[in-house]
């Protein structure tokens, strides 16, 4: 009963088996890590915003540089095309001008009356303020998210939750800003909601994106008059981000349960857009975290410690003492 050792496997074969085992383990680990990242994003959506904006800071200036020659060419073609049919277009424009002048005379009267009434009522209204004008540098035209990138960021004064407006109407609002780039949530994204009113009837509602080129008018309140095809939808100014009266779209299907709206400004064909300050100043949040009443020693302050954050009291009128978070 002699014992013979089992034949050793060739070392190359064993190495191959080890390698495939390691790669299987690494693959499984990587997929698990991805799922964990998704769970982290569920708990705190802002987790990766730093990383996202760092990537956008590289990509947005790159795309705006790549776009430049293409834009120049298309503008040249537009200029050449402008010469054809100029006469008929001028006649049509003159007719429109007559009509508009008539309306303008009427509205001047009304504007004066309105100004007088507002003065009587002491209505104070915020004004719209343009922060930056730029082109859409890059955009996402497929997939689960409808967003665009602009090549201006916090270095130009852009902050989050500012309206982005095209030449024909609303495009979206900024959601994240980096130093040289900002991300715009387009009105067609499925989480976008814009407070609007129907211009003809005064009915208020929310304009909801659904990831498609058209939008839905949901949650209508107010006078329940039937909509007509072609009714203009404008922003209502509720919520404080979008200024009131901005054209957003037109009704193209009035009889559905949720009327279908076509955007006045197709977000991806917008070309130049302006970024305006939020219509109403957003309430500054109270400083989060601990409030230090004790003075910070000079040595610590020289080493970069923050200034003491004092509890807001009616007596401390020194604004420099309160460091916003």
């Amino acid at each position: 009963m002699d014992w013979t050792p089992p034949p050793r496997r060739p070392s190359a074969m064993r190495r191959e088996q080890n390698l495939s085992l390691v790669s299987a383990v690494v693959s499984g680990g990587v997929i698990t890590a991805g799922l964990l990242l998704l769970l982290v994003a569920r708990v705190n959506p802002q987790t990766a915003s730093r990383l996202r904006m760092a990537a956008a800071d590289v990509a947005a200036p790159l795309w705006s540089a790549v776009r430049a020659p293409v834009d120049g060419m298309s503008r040249l073609f537009e200029d050449v095309g402008g010469y054809f049919g100029a006469v008929s277009r001028a006649q049509a424009l003159a007719e429109q001008l007559d009509l508009a002048n008539a309306r303008l005379r009427q509205s001047r009267l009304e504007a004066r009356e309105l100004a007088q009434l507002k003065k009587l009522l002491a209505v104070r209204e915020p004004t719209r303020r343009v922060i930056a004008a730029t082109r859409i540098a890059a955009a996402m035209s497929g997939g689960a998210v409808r967003s665009a990138m602009l090549a201006v960021g916090s270095s130009s004064g852009v902050a989050r939750d500012m309206p982005v407006i095209g030449s024909d109407g609303l495009v979206g609002r900024t959601t994240e800003t980096g130093r040289y780039s900002s991300r715009v949530l387009l009105i067609t994204d499925s989480i976008s909601r814009v407070p609007v009113i129907v211009e003809r009837t005064g009915q208020a509602g929310l304009l909801a994106g659904r990831g498609e080129p058209t939008l839905l008018l949901v949650d209508r309140v107010g006078p329940d008059l039937p909509l007509r095809i072609g009714d203009r939808i404008v922003t209502s100014g509720d919520g404080g981000v979008f200024p009131p009266g901005l054209p957003v779209g037109r009704v193209i299907d009035a009889h559905a349960a949720a009327p279908v709206i076509r955007p006045a400004q197709p977000p991806l064909g917008a070309g130049f857009v302006t970024i305006e300050a939020a219509w109403l100043p957003s309430p500054t949040p109270e400083p989060t975290g601990p409030v230090f009443d004790a003075p910070v020693p000079t040595e610590a302050r020289q080493r970069g410690a923050p200034r003491p954050r004092l509890r807001p009291s009616p007596r401390s009128a020194d604004p420099a003492a309160t460091v916003p978070s």
Binding site: S27, A33, L37, V40, A138, A139, G143, R210
Partner: protein, 184 residues
């Protein structure tokens, strides 16, 4: 191989070692090409429907077919993470999906032998569809549920673009092989 196999490190002369180190960038080419195609997806095209093809995923799949050793699931994970950051999706969505697709591609590679372009196209189509169908549940897992129907616009566009992407990747591979042979 797109690079000549390295000689034993201790036997190399300093000159050889320098040349070998300088030639290792070739290992990163599949990853870099895929990342560049992710950047191309950001083109602001005024498409009437949301039909931008999934160029990044297709590049990852194509390289997993052409050079499986140079497109392991962890490399696909990083390309997917880049796509998440650039496209503004929750971090981890494309990373998971790209890594899964590469792993599945390895299994398919192991199960099938010689095969033609049409078979590869069909496999890629099934992969793209599976990724699109998984996007919805994973977005819901990340806390941002999205409607599924608009996502499916990407499928026909991606299927039409597949031969071009494969051709592009194969062309890059051919050039790399040619330059590696010229160096050796």
């Amino acid at each position: 191989m797109i690079t000549s196999p390295p000689p034993p490190v201790r036997l190399m002369s300093p000159d050889e070692r320098r040349r070998w180190l300088l030639s290792t960038w070739r290992y990163a080419v599949p990853t870099l090409v895929s990342a560049a195609l992710v950047l191309v997806m950001l083109a602001p095209l005024p498409l009437p429907v949301p039909a931008m093809p999934q160029l990044g995923l297709m590049a990852v799949l194509a390289w997993a077919m052409l050079q499986p050793a140079l497109m392991p699931p962890w490399a696909a994970f990083f390309i997917g993470a880049l796509a998440d950051m650039l496209l503004g999706m929750p971090l981890g969505l494309n990373a998971t999906l790209f890594a899964l697709a590469t792993g599945a591609m390895r299994l398919i590679d192991a199960g099938t032998g010689e095969r033609g372009h049409g078979f590869d196209w069909a496999v890629a189509g099934v992969m793209l569809l599976a990724v699109l169908l998984l996007t919805g549940p994973l977005m819901a897992l990340a806390g941002q549920p999205v409607p599924m129907a608009p996502l499916l616009w990407q499928l026909p566009a991606s299927l039409l673009m597949w031969p071009l992407v494969v051709r592009f990747c194969a062309d890059v591979q051919r050039r790399l092989v040619a330059s590696a042979n010229a160096m050796a």
